[in-house]
Amino acid sequence: MNSWKNIRDDFPILNQEANGHPLVYLDNAATTQKPRAVIDALSRFYERDNANVHRGLHTLSMRATAGYEGARARVAAFVNAAAPEEIVFTRGTTESINLVAASWGGANLKPGDVILLTEMEHHSNLVPWQLVAKRTGATLRFVPVNGDEGLLDLPSLDRLLTPEVKVFAFTHVSNTLGTINPAAALCARARNAGVVTVVDAAQSIGHMPVDVRAMDCDFLAFSGHKMAGVTGIGALYGRRALLDAMPPWQGGGGMIAHVDFLESRWKPAPERFEAGTPNFGDAVALGAACDYLDGLGRAEIQRHGAALGRRAYEVLSGIPGIRLLGPRGERAALVSFSFADVHAHDVVTFADQDGIALRGGHHCNQPLMKKLGLTGTTRASFFVYNTEKEIEVLAASLRRTVKFFRG
């Protein structure tokens, strides 16, 4: 068990000032900081074990292969997959969803079919489906969001799950609203309708227990860098029977069983979907990130994040003129808000001068922003090292900012 007591000491980057103030890093939904254990695992791999995987017969290559496949098994255990073969390494959530859309979607969708999404999807769980819809003649349909409260209109789901629907792709946690969707219930209803499910777990994977078998999803996509891992690595979980039936989506070395001039045969999953030299160094670091988070306890991480999310909502709701988005009650470790008279980017610039890292804009959620009549919001998002004290620092800074603009 890692210690929560001195947790900030685990993250070297936090020990600095920004613009003369102690750094208050509240942009964790964009990317989390990395603990020393992950940075060390990455250095150790390159200092000791680096060689190309799978093909080499020499010592280092065997060691690197063991590290890479060990990381796959570690990630599989992290999401409780039935086997390591159900984990395909990718560059991150976006590539994972593109893989499903291009490979599964390309092989299974036809004109008249419907792809069901929700109105709260990040562009990365929208645009890949737009692309495959264009290619296959399928159309898109959306589960509505009920306004600023940010909940999915679940009663409409049965009406929307018509026989034409072949796939339902939705986010587990909204990066803009902080909504936690009932993923297991959504998957169960889709399954009853014979619909394949794709869960975007980018915002949940580092913040709560994620169990693909309890959720009973068909695919689950996530990024390493949002769960204390490094950038450039992520994974796609896929139910084995589905992965094995899917065609490759990229060709090259590493994914072939046999190649001739005119035709080739593919390896089984997951190698079939990992053409080219894979990102084994970052995969090893991702395994270390899994160890770190499990060391803290994922249920404990969820409690910590939920408490900060609720606290931020409460504290910020006292700021005159603030419009808070997302559910009032149970929410993820983030808060998103706007002011009618102060633009998000001005808020972010002011906060930065107080050492606070926020994010302002449409959060890759343009259609949702349009629906809510917003051009953007400001978002504060939390991770394991954030404190209630930092929420107070944020609130004080926001109060100064709105006062400045209102004169």
């Binding site: 613009n19 003369g20 102060v342 633009h343 998000a344 980017h345 001005d346 610039t349 002011f350 001068q353 302002g360 804009g361 449409h362 343009q366 922003m369 051009t375 953007g376 100064r400 400045f404 603009f405 004169g407």
Partner: protein, 151 residues
Amino acid sequence: MSSDLTDLYQHVILDHNRRPRNRGRIPTANRVAHGDNPTCGDQCSVFLRLEGDRIADISFDGSGCAISQASASLMTTQVKGKTAAEARALYDHFHDIVTTGREPEEISDVAAFAGVHAFPARIKCATLGWHAFLNALKDDPAPATTENTPD
């Protein structure tokens, strides 16, 4: 409040942000251009009444941060009544101020934008309205986007 920040949000900028000049669509416009910054979602449309070579009337509309809205507002007051060549020279002057931070010798409201220089990420906010204006002047139907214009 840091001095960099108060430089950035000088009185002139705050004033134009709170009370934008020439905002809305002028019905007599014979040139229209739209500018957008896809990175942050800022938008600005410029409506121009060009009579011969002279900017007889101008207005803007849009949404965005204080810098972008104040800059577009100030731009309309600067170029109204000027010839196209004079307006382009004003843009060059403005561009020089925001990218170098050099304040002009003469007293001028555009000097307020010198503070933008200290915040490189915000230079595109300050020039968005100007780019839309220049496109309207050229009668270029393509939207001005910060993705394919140098600052």
